[in-house]
Amino acid sequence: MVLIYNGPIDVQSLLSSWYSAEHNRNYGAMVTFVGTVREEAGIEALSFDIYRPLLDKWFEGWKRRLEKEGALLAMAHSEGDVPVHTSSFACAIFSPKRRIALEMLDAFVEDFKANAPIWKYDVINGKRIYAKERSTPMAGSGLLAKD
């Protein structure tokens, strides 16, 4: 299951807890990715909606894919407002050897961007504006627009 934070992720305690839970299970490599809200275009924060049932399904699919490689996947994401310079996304992969961890981190983060059911909004002057230009239609989009 994806760990959902209401607002920013407490990155320091999250990374600490992931490391301390797994470092003695004989994984030789841990890789992590943390996404932090950048100050740009006058935003105060980003805000997120999540559709949890599908996010968990998508995540469990990745978890199984990594388990086949002997690797372990963990992920957290924020819901609601995440102010500039705080973090909204974190993940970690533990694997026996480094190669799988490095390759899968890249593949997982890219697929996350394209297919995790999460919607992003800029928060400007307290108003929530859908980040349409930075969003990607999910695989299979347009089905109901077909003739």
Partner: protein
């Protein structure tokens, strides 16, 4: 009746619709201008499973979700 959810920025409350396939549902949704503009860019899940064919049968109590373009992280 089938329950249709409009996720994220579509920002519309769920509706109950009478449709026995996704094809029929598509015809109904195309008539709602608030929804129609999102159809081209939205993916579809039935009971929280992504679907890619209009032939999918719907039965009473099914949940159909419309998923507009995403951007996590």
């Amino acid at each position: 009746m089938v329950k249709v959810e409009f996720l994220g920025p579509i920002g519309k409350s769920p509706v109950e619709v009478d449709a026995s396939t996704l094809s029929e549902l598509a015809e109904i949704l195309k008539k709602d201008p608030e929804v129609a503009q999102w159809l081209e860019q939205s993916a579809v899940a039935v009971n929280d499973t992504m679907v890619e064919s209009l032939d999918v049968k719907l039965k009473c109590g099914d949940k159909v979700s419309l998923l507009p373009p995403v951007c996590g992280g």
